[in-house]
Structure formats: structure tokens, C-alpha cells
């Protein structure tokens, strides 16, 4: 699989991959907004036919003043098609995005939401990438499930 920065022509493949894989879906304008605002942070994996088989969509957030006002990265959505698992694609996609968050935006940490029941994803974030659970957001998901907010502090790269 080929792993590279996401480009505008990848957006419909990313949107389609998200729709067949995950329950949280977004309109095209949302996908466009992210890569047109933070063009360095989103990545894709494609197969040899050029079909998108995995992606990470990320952004930069500024905390509210009371929380410290820190710049940090946030992963909006990441998924790899079931038929392309066990290749380590999710890990590589995440690491490229994290690297860009730190080097381009000097982000202190990266956060994400994950379903409490999604053991596999939590395993990837915690055991492979080093994230920790920072808090629980009650009923974060449309169907009423709680989310873990997970965080990973990024090494400051100058």
C-alpha cells in the first residue's frame, strides 16, 4: 500500500471509506474544510489501483482559556477498510499526522474520541501509539454511547 499526504482528489474516496466503515459520517464540505485549512495533517493509504483503503483526517484546535489555551492536534476520523487490516496502516497514518502536528503547528498534544466499546482501536491508541485516557464524555455518540477522550503528548520538535 502507498501511504501519502491526502490531496483534494482523495476526498471522495475518503468519504466513501468512512461511510462503509464507521457510523459517524460527514458531508463533503466538512472533509474539504479540514484539508483546505490544515493541508499538512491528513493522510491516506491507497492500493495499487489508486483506491483509498485508509485515511486519517485531522485538525488543529485551540483550547479554551480556562483549560490553558494550548494549541493541540485532534484526530477527527481514522479508518482502514476491514480487508486491509493487519498491515499497520492505521499506525503509520497516525504517526505521520502526529509528526506534522508537532512540526508544523508546534502542537503540544494530540487528542481523539473513541467509543468505550471499541477495544481494538483503544488498543492501537494506547498500546501501540502511547495515548492515555484523559476523560470520559458521557453520551458523546449519536446512539448514546460514551466516548473516551484520549491524549498523547507530542515531543517538541523544533
Amino acid at each position: 500500500m502507498n501511504i501519502r499526504l491526502a490531496r483534494p482528489e482523495d476526498l471522495s474516496g475518503m468519504q466513501a471509506g468512512n461511510l462503509v466503515n464507521l457510523p459517524e459520517n460527514y458531508l463533503m464540505k466538512f472533509w474539504m474544510y479540514h484539508i483546505l485549512t490544515w493541508p499538512q495533517l491528513s493522510f491516506v493509504a491507497e492500493n495499487d489501483k489508486g483506491h483509498i483503503v485508509g485515511y486519517v483526517l485531522a485538525k488543529i484546535d485551540e483550547e479554551s482559556e480556562e483549560k490553558g489555551g494550548e494549541m493541540h492536534g485532534h484526530v477527527n476520523s481514522i479508518s482502514v477498510l476491514r480487508s486491509y487490516r493487519r498491515l499497520g496502516l492505521a499506525k503509520r497514518l497516525m504517526m505521520l499526522s502526529q509528526d506534522a502536528m508537532a512540526s508544523v503547528y508546534k502542537a503540544n498534544y494530540v487528542s481523539l474520541h473513541v467509543r468505550k466499546s471499541n477495544i481494538a482501536a483503544i488498543g492501537l491508541y494506547r498500546d501501540t501509539l502511547g495515548f492515555e485516557v484523559a476523560e470520559v464524555e458521557k453520551k458523546y455518540y449519536g446512539d448514546g454511547e460514551d466516548a473516551y477522550v484520549m491524549k498523547l503528548f507530542l515531543k517538541n520538535q523544533s
Binding site: 500500500m1 502507498n2 501511504i3 501519502r4 499526504l5 490531496r7 483534494p8 482528489e9 476526498l11 471522495s12 468519504q15 466513501a16 461511510l19 462503509v20 466503515n21 464507521l22 457510523p23 459520517n25 460527514y26 458531508l27 463533503m28 464540505k29 474539504m32 484539508i35 483546505l36 485549512t37 493541508p39 499538512q40 493509504a45 492500493n47 495499487d48 489501483k49 483503503v53 477498510l81 476491514r82 480487508s83 486491509y84 487490516r85 493487519r86 498491515l87 503509520r92 505521520l96 509528526d99 506534522a100 512540526s103 508544523v104 503547528y105 508546534k106 466499546s117 449519536g142
Partner: protein
Amino acid sequence: MSKKTVAPKESNRYLSSKESSLFKELLSLYEAKQLKKGLKAADQILKKYPEHGETLCMKGLVLVHMGRREEGIELVRKGIRMDLTSHIVWHVFGLIQKGEKKYEDALKSYTQALRFDKENMNLLRDVAQLQTQLRLYDGLVETRYMLLRLRPTARQNWIALAVAYHLSGNLAEAMKVLVEYEKTLKNVPHYDVEHSETLLYHVRVLEELEQYPEALALLDVSAKDRAIVDKTAIMEIRARLLSKLRSAEAEHAWKVLIEHNPECYDYYKGYTSNQGLNLGLDENPSEALVILREFSTQLPKANVPRRLSLLLASNEEFEALAQPYLLSGLKKGIPSLFVDVKSLYVDPAKLRSLQDIAESIRKDTTPDPSSAPFSISTEPTTYLWSLYFLAQHYSYLSEYSKAMELLDLAIAHTPTLPELYTCRARTLKRAGDFFGASRAMEDARLLDGQDRFLNTKSAKYRMRAGLIDEASALLGLFTKKDAPSPGADLEEMQSLFYLLEEGDAHQRAGRLNLALKKYTAVQRVFDDYEDDQYDFHGYSLRKFTINVYLNMLDWEDHLRSHPSYIKAALAGSRIYVDVFDDPKLASNNVDGGGTDAEKKAKKKAKKAQKEKEDAAKKATAPTTSTNEDKGLDVPYKDDDPDGMKLLSAPEPLTLAAKLLQPLTTLAPNNIDVWISIYDVAIRRGKHLQAVQALARARALNPEHPELHVRIIHAKLSASIIPEPIPSPSGPVFAETLDKILPEDISLATFNSQYLQNHSTSAKAVLAAAQASRMLGTPLQEVEDLIFTALHDEVLLDIKTALEISGFLKKIKSSRVDELHKALDAKFIMSTAFKTLEELVKIREAVLTTNASSSNDRPDNDTTLVENETELGRVEAGGSA
């Protein structure tokens, strides 16, 4: 809206000082979207000046924002009539038209407004966005120039002018503007991402101007100053520029990139092409193989160099590389291993070799019950994954029973691995057993009900088997619960997969109205994608993310080259052509013909629509009007839920032409596009366009069976044109057609020659039969010809077999049953040619074996009869 100057007393724009300040307040209230207060202010002015055009327009605008569209637009129109020389009324009108996505009209209104207020920044900015949306780049340069002249202190005005020059094709001017802009900058802080993006844009302009040394110099100095902060971008551009400059540093630059991301093909391509090598295209790849081997050693975890080596190597070297590649993939249980190596099969020797390696791994890992018990457990999963790999392999080679045997073994070994069932499903689908395929895919889904991927697959396979309601029930497990139907939610979320699959399923079942409805929805998704760029024409310039913005514009310009658009456009156009040929098709579907779930969904949708309208009515009542801003965009309203209006549209061919139009430039190498364009044009009496389309198709593949039929059709059509086509089209038409098929060859001879040349292709046999029918050959002879497609030496697949059956039905042949019987015997595993009674049983079996959604099916006879067409016309889908 900008403030206005005071009008003289005799003018109909005059307001007394109280109302005049009230009007200014109205403008600020509108800017702040204080709609309720704005409405009040407008009403107050109108009390004293009921015919004040600008106030009428502003009131209308506010009302549209509040969701009272029709009433609002009425007022706007009235306001314009009252004050034709006001920039405000035209500005308001432009805003309304923009909300209706009538960009050309909006631009006209804005241009009108500018005539009365030449230096209005708001107007100019909106005009620039409209000009970009419409790709009127020369005008855009003028507008951006004006904006910069009016406010040179705004940084984005400089960038915007540079981008305008760039888009208009004037790179040199774009660069001049950037240089001037950078001179104006003082004290840019380090690590300013906006400035960094601007400089990266500047480097791009230099690179596109082929000023490589200058580009590299700017890049290097900006990187050193930390003015450009995107390190990956620096590395990539640097490597590319160094290669273009044939610098000795290039090799190292590419190497650094490979180390940064060892899974990116582009970097290896960059590295090797910098060495003068061409990955995969060189006659002697040994040099490239040495390089890749070095990278494999240096980066042991990287997959790309190992996989690229498989592409380049051959013979013993290939085997030596492929063995560990397959073994490691099977040991790790990588599900995509087969899909990964499949593209190597174009080389038959590699196919053979991979098969041998996989078979030998399977043999080595097969548990041996007679030996000591520990050996059984040595490689149990490797054994399992080798069975899975081989099953996919044989399925791909159309050795279906072999694939099925391997899957039986694998499932007996590990009954809980969904991939085994998805592979079984795909094999059955390829063999033409759509019901069995659907059942197998549902078995896979039931092993992991939380997985949307398997859910989607199972729904897709149900649609392929014509089980639309049952598919919808599955999709509904993951769609929003408050949506009118699962399909409505998927449509709203722009699921192209869903729209196409369901459209195709309806089309196969003869419900052309519903099929057309879905294909049109695909078209609308692309219209929305196109509209989505509008705001970015302003936003991206303020954010300075120019490079990605320019790439986005390019993507938008090629949007409809997307396979989903092409499919929908071709399928939709075919339906329009069929309806034109046989208008009865539109009236036959008059009950809407929906399936049960759709009828339910329609009721629910109607109810939801009514609730919406009621709510809107409530909102219209002055007492309940709120501040809620509904925006200016026209909300989508579906007043044709079953697609009957679409199907019975008075000008189907115009609609078809509109669907196909973008493809002439975006998919010019797709022969189906030109054939469809011919079909539409010839029926519209556009003879020249029709034969030119044939010429384009012929240039792509002169022997294409569909083209053959059209050539005969064109000749016949030309012979019955009532009066000669006037010059200059007439002579060009005759000349083009004569080039395709010279006058002195008789059509019958042409047809029989074609058949002779392609007698082992079932598609060609069908084409020849269709052509001879057109030429008036007696039915019996045509039937005899069609049946030759069943001969052993003829290559026949299920899809073509179904087309043949469709053709026999169309010409009202009495031998359809005979054909089906023969086809059923030929395609042993397929259910496509079973009799209706057999299908009823098979379908029941599928649904009762499926644990879910079988209980809500009424199983009385009426339902079964209703589904006759659906059962009879299941069609082979493309292999996924």
C-alpha cells in the same frame, strides 16, 4: 450591504432623517443577522414609505433568511422595480440568485450593482467569488486588481491578485505580485504558518515557471530562516527540484524522504528515476533491484521495496523474493495479501509461480493427523490463510468448485473467520449464484454484527440478488434512526455506493422510475460537490493555504470523471433513450412500483414533509417568527418521490444529453460514453454530432460490438433522412460516415464479415444478431444466430448471457425458455436462468436461512408474482 449616500428629496429613494437612520440600522441588523429586529425596522420604514425600493428588498432578504422564501422574493422583485438604479437592490437580488445556485444570473446582478457603486468592497469580493466559481479568470484578475488598489494594506488582497493571475495563466505576473507583496512585509514572526504557506506557493510558481535554481534558493533560504515550517513539504520539493537540476544532492534528498516515510511509492520512484531508472518499465531491472534490496535491508519493516521488487524481478529471482513475501503475509494473516499480489498475474509465469509457492506452503502446513500431536499445532493459522489465499486465487481464475472446496476446508478448520464467507460470497457471485452469494455474505456479517464494512457488503449482495427491502433493513442498522428511511439517510450523507447499487437493482427489476431517481441523486451529489467549493474562493485566500486551494480547483474541474458519475450518467442516459423509444415504459410504471419497504418509507417521508411544512407554516405566522437564520440556500425539496415525473419528462433526450455532456472532455477514452452520446444525438436529429461520436468510439476500438450495432444503425438512419442536411454539416456528416463504413460495402456483407471475424465472442454474436434484426432478417434466422453463442468454442459469460436473453425477449422470440434451459445447464452454479418456480424456492431458502429480517416478509402468492421481473432479471455485477 454598504451604507448609502443621502438621496435628493424628489427621488423615490428619499427617506426623512428618522427613516434614513432607521434604514442604516436595518443594514447593521441584517449584518448581525438580528432578523426579527431587522424586520421590525423595515416595517416601520415601509409604513411611511411603502414604495421604498431598498427597504422592500432588505425586508425581502430578511424574510428569505427567516425561511419565508416566496414572500421574500416577491418583495425583492417589487423593490427592484421601484428603484432600478440602486446598488442595494441589485446586491440583494444577486444574493438571492447565488442562494439559488444561479451563479451566472447572480454575477449579472452584481455587475449591475457595481455600475452604481464602483468601489464597493463587499460587492467586489462577492463578484470575485462568483467569477472564480464560473472560471471567468480574466474578469477575476480585474476584480482582484481593483480590490488591491482600494486596499493595499490587506495582505490577502495581494495573494488574491497573484492567484487570479495564476488561474488566468499568467504565471509571470503572479510572481511579480508575490515579489512586490513580500517587499511590503515587515517583522514576520517565525513559525507563522500562513506566511509559510505563502512562501511555499511562491516556490510553486517559480517551479511552474521552470526557474528551478530560483525556486531552490527561495526554498532553502526560507527553510533556514524557519519561514517555511512544513518540513515534509520542504523535503519533497527540495528532492524534486534537485532532481530537475540534476544535482548530486538529489539522491540523498530522496533517501531522506524514504526514511521519513518508507511506505510512499513516490519517494522510491523519485529515487530511482533520479538514477535514470524507470520502475517497472526498464528492460533490465537489475540495477533497480539492487537499490530496492538495499532499502529492504536498511528498512526491514518497510513493505514497499519488497513489493516493488516483485514487480521488477522475474524467473528464479522472482521466486526467491516471492516465497518469503507470501510466507510472511500468510504467517501474519494479512487479509489483503491476494489482492496485493493479484496485479502481478498479468505475467502468466508469475501467476504460476505464486500458485506453486502458495500450494507448497499449504502442503507444508497441512495438519497431519497421523504424526505427533504437536506438529498439528505448528502452523495452524498459516495453513488457514494459505487456504484463504488459494481460494481467492482459484476464484479469480474462474475455477469456482476448486475455490469452494478450499473454503469448505477452511471453514471446517475455523468457522468464525468472516473473510472465508466473504470469499465464498464473491465466488458464488462470480459463478452467477446471486442468492447463494447473498446468503454467504450474510453469514459473514452475522459473525461480526458491529462491523459496518460487513454490513455494507451484505446489503450490497442483497441488492445484487434483487432483495432491495432486505438490503435496506440491514443498512438501517447503521443509519440515523430519525431519518425517513435508511436510503434517505445514505443519500443525504452522499453515499454514491448506495445510490448506484440501489439504482442498478431497480433497473434490473424494470422499475425504471426508481432507478432513474437514484441515478439523478448521484448527479445531485456531484452538483453539491461543485457548489461546495464556493465559500473557499474567499476562505482559502484569507487562510493563505493557496497550494491546496489550487489543487482543489483542479479537482473540482475534473469532478465528473469520477467512476460513480460516469456510471450514473450512462445508466441514466440509457433509461432516457429507452423511454424515448418506447414511451409506454413510462406509463407502465405508473403505480411507482416500489417495494414494500419503499412504500413504507415513502409514507414516512410524506409525513415528515408534512410536519416540516406545518412547522414552516407556523414559522410564517408573524407572532412566532424567530431569529433563526435559515440562510439563503434553497433547501432541497423532493416533489417526485417515486421518480415518475423524471421518467415521464417531456424531453428525455435533452436530460440525457445534459448528463453526458461533461463526459466528452472528462472521460474521452471511455467508449461507452461515445456510444451513449451517439444514441442520444441520433435520436435528437443531431446527425453530425452522432457520427462524430461514432468516429471517436471507432478510434478507441473499431471492433467493439456495441459500436458495430451503431454503425449499422447510423447507416440506416442516414438513408432515411427526409431532406439533405444543409452545408457545412451535411458534407462533413457524409464524409465522416463514409470513412467509418464506405458506401460501396453493403450492410449485410459488413455484418456477416464482422460475425465471421469474431465468431468466438458471444458479445459479437449478439451484436451481429441485433444488427441483422435491424436489417430486416426474419426472426427465425436471428434466433438461430443467437443460439450459436451457446456453442462450446464461443466465449460466453453470465452478463452477456443475460443480455442475450434480454434481446430475445425484446424481439418477442418464442425460444426464451429454451435459451434459459440451455444456459442453466451451461452455468451449473448460477441461479440466473432458473425458472420462476425454482427461483421462488431458492429465494425462500435464502431468506429463511438468514437469521435476520426474514420474519417480516409476507409469503403469500401475490408478493411472489409482483416480484416476477425482479426474480427473472438478476444480472451479473462487475467483480468487486
